[in-house]
Symmetry: C2
Subunit: 278 residues, 2 copies
């Protein structure tokens, strides 16, 4: 399986926990992990490489050429890095037809094989939505989305690189950003939603992008009274837990039930560290 990450030094520890959980929870798979970045931090790459199970997980360091995306609109708030996800097809090797983008604040607790091999048709992206109906309307207006679309979370997305390579119009994205950027809250997520609402397949957040907030909203909804999800259901059925937003299990004051999965894999990383002799 091909995995795409973008390097953020503030999240190296979490990224290692995430990769460990990915490999442990998918025992029969091999991973090629592409890490996109603009400035290599050798220490970070070394730390990642020395912390993971190298038998089944190969790290591929992808330096984005300094001239790339120079013509793209950027500001301090929206640096060039926002294009690494949307325009992954522009710089990843041409032999890759599909890749799974993952944020570092994720843990994988079950197989992602069905997700990775899903039928995406001609769509560019697949993603899950965390958004309630009321917020959905606001986002539709803010970002000019078609009326029946869902505002998706861009932290976990299979990318159809083949379709993107063949049909993505780079200028369309740049134009959209120029026109809409005053309305943006989360730069690249808003762009993917605004430009590609009709090029995105929807996936169940409960299985592939579960956050503490989504879980508690779901369980509190009277409509879901007979399908409430408890920890047993989650441990058996959910594949991807996403600690998005400010409520992070590695920060003090964390409130949530899902943090225990992070702690479990964080502890596995610590145990492995003790065994490594430098």
């Amino acid at each position: 399986m091909n995995i795409l990450l973008t390097l953020n030094s503030n999240y190296i520890e979490q990224l290692i926990v995430m990769l460990t959980s990915l490999v442990k929870s998918n025992a029969n798979e091999n991973f090629e992990v592409y890490i996109a970045h603009s400035s290599l931090d050798e220490e970070d790459i070394f730390l990642i490489n020395s912390s993971i199970c190298k038998d089944r997980c190969k790290i591929i360091d992808v330096k984005i050429p300094s001239g790339m995306f120079n013509e793209a609109p950027t500001t301090d708030r929206y640096p060039k890095e926002m294009y690494y996800r949307i325009f992954a097809a522009q710089y990843l090797p041409e032999f890759l037809d599909r890749i799974l983008y993952l944020d570092p604040d994720i843990v994988v607790i079950n197989s992602i094989s069905s997700l990775y091999n899903m039928d995406m048709g001609d769509n560019f992206f697949a993603a899950a939505s965390h958004v309630s109906k009321s917020l959905k309307k606001i986002n539709e207006i803010r970002l000019d989305m078609p009326g029946d679309s869902m505002y998706i979370n861009s932290g976990m997305m299979p990318l159809n690189l083949k379709a993107l390579r063949e049909n993505q119009d780079v200028q369309e994205v740049y134009d959209y950003i120029e026109n809409k950027k005053v309305f943006f809250l989360l730069p690249d997520q808003d762009v993917i939603n605004g430009v590609y609402a009709d090029k995105t397949v929807h996936i169940d957040a409960m299985i592939y992008n579960l956050s503490d907030r989504y879980l508690s909203l779901y369980n509190a909804n009277p409509k879901n009274i007979s399908t409430k999800k408890d920890m047993r259901w989650i441990a058996h059925n959910t594949s991807i837990v996403h600690y998005c937003g400010r409520n992070k299990p590695w920060k003090s004051g964390y409130k949530g039930e899902l943090g225990v999965f992070y702690y479990y894999f964080e502890n596995l990383v610590n145990r492995n560290k003790k065994q490594i002799v430098f």
Copy 2:
């Protein structure tokens, strides 16, 4: 490591989850698991053998001879099986100096190497106590225990087979049972406490025998305000979680935080099952 279990067909599923957690959480160890029983159920043994990782875990089926413990006091409530733990040294192979007894309603979430290799001196048993001070007094009187002893939980106990083989007085146990059995609440646990209070080393329940009830009592105690244990602490430091009492995570109405560890390993067992071709 040598592990002792007693076979109870009502707990086969839990026993498989427990063995899986033991092997997974102790990646550098090999296990010889002695299963003591009076009547072999071949289907159970087959199920256990086909569900666990046989590379590092060998099941040894220990049939207790039908004449054994015939002279021991028994009743319907206290059958012969109660002696399998107290008198393990009577029937286990003589080359075994130490064994760790584990109840099936346990999961192992971290290394048990320090526990297994602890210095037991001349003591027969090591065990943890879940009991508060007020209950401690009642047990002392009920079972005639020395004043400074702790009522221990017998679900997780390293057994010093060498010392037991050399110094255990079988008749002393039988006599105690005859005299005290009207006061018993939990047969073999009461006997170990009543007869062997001064032959038992105490271990920290928070690390080696953590139950939901013990955790909530500990955290609710104002004395422990600065050392409260959260899920991160537990995932990193606790080795053995014990779902003792009626509150079991595999039963409906379960209330507790620790069940998630059971669900995690239960799910690993289910995943493995899918891979086994009969």
